[in-house]
């Protein structure tokens, strides 16, 4: 994919976006009649045109490279959520929480990556991103263990690798 020039990469990302939209339409409707499929096509084209006008189809917002890695990343993310969810549940029931603020450094290169990392931190129970200041996050953690887990930098590395 690295050999492609910028224009063909753009067209490729348009096609991918179009396919994703149409598959999404089909999952939600489930119709196979040709007339209804045609209506689906029209509505997908309309949404496509609107996102083009809203400049939502720039390179940064639709990173093609990560689409294939995304399902594996989600599985990994659900595993992380489950692990820290159990820790948080235990903390709520036994009352041994000690809330603390820590700062975490992000090493992602573009804005999508940083937003992704901040979202992943908030999504795992027990840690919430309060403030994003360029590449440092202010994070509120529910206990010492949870904040130490975050400071091992595993999550940061996984999300940075996602964009390679």
């Amino acid at each position: 994919m690295a050999k492609l020039n910028k224009d063909s990469l753009k067209i490729l990302s348009f096609i991918t976006y179009f396919i994703i939209l149409f598959v999404f339409w089909f999952i939600l409707s489930g119709y196979l009649k040709s007339l209804l499929l045609f209506f689906g096509l029209v509505s997908v084209l309309f949404v496509f045109w609107m996102s083009y006008r809203a400049k939502a189809l720039e390179e940064d917002s639709l990173p093609l490279k990560i689409i294939l890695r995304l399902p594996f990343y989600w599985i990994w993310l659900f595993k992380e959520i489950f692990k820290s969810g159990i820790t948080t549940t235990a903390l709520i029931w036994n009352g041994k929480y000690s809330p603390q603020l820590i700062s975490v450094k992000a090493s992602q290169k573009n804005r999508t990556g940083i937003a992704n990392y901040a979202n992943a931190i908030t999504l795992t129970p027990g840690t919430v991103t309060i403030e994003v200041d360029k590449k440092t996050f202010l994070v509120h953690a529910l206990s010492k263990k949870l904040s130490e887990d975050l400071q091992t930098d595993d999550m940061n590395k996984v999300i940075t690798d996602l964009d390679k």
């Binding site: 999952i27 939600l28 489930g30 989600w74 993310l77 659900f78 959520i81 489950f82 969810g85 948080t88 549940t89 709520i92 029931w93 009352g95 929480y97 000690s98 809330p99 603390q100 603020l101 820590i102 700062s103 901040a118 979202n119 992943a120 908030t122 999504l123 795992t124 129970p125 027990g126 840690t127 919430v128 991103t129 309060i130 403030e131 202010l138 509120h140 529910l142």
Partner: protein
């Protein structure tokens, strides 16, 4: 025997989901300040809804419906951190200090 295995599995998953929602609700009441309570709400958003959707998928069998159900947690992993972050940021900006040790 009136129960089959599929119903049993989905029943167990539903029970786990309900347990997480119960813990989250308990945390909402019990935890000391705004920031800590967001963690409890996050528990409901992710694990509570996740397990219940999983139970429904197992119960309904694999069809187009289960794909629709899978879209629910997919949207939740994009939207729920945004709300949590919005609440935390607003509390922080309006000068609310978290309880407990603070090292910056």
């Amino acid at each position: 025997m009136s129960y089959n295995y599929i119903e049993l599995i989905s029943l167990v998953l539903l029970a786990i989901g309900c347990f997480f929602i119960l813990s989250g609700s308990l945390g909402l009441i019990k935890l000391p300040d705004v920031f800590s309570r967001i963690h409890a709400a996050g528990l409901i958003d992710t694990l509570g809804s996740g397990f219940i959707v999983l139970a429904l998928i197992v119960y309904s069998g694999f069809s187009l419906l289960s794909l629709k159900l899978l879209l629910i947690p997919l949207f939740l992993i994009f939207t729920s951190p945004v709300t949590g972050h919005a609440i935390a940021l607003f509390a922080h900006e309006s000068g609310y200090k978290p309880k407990g040790k603070n090292k910056k």
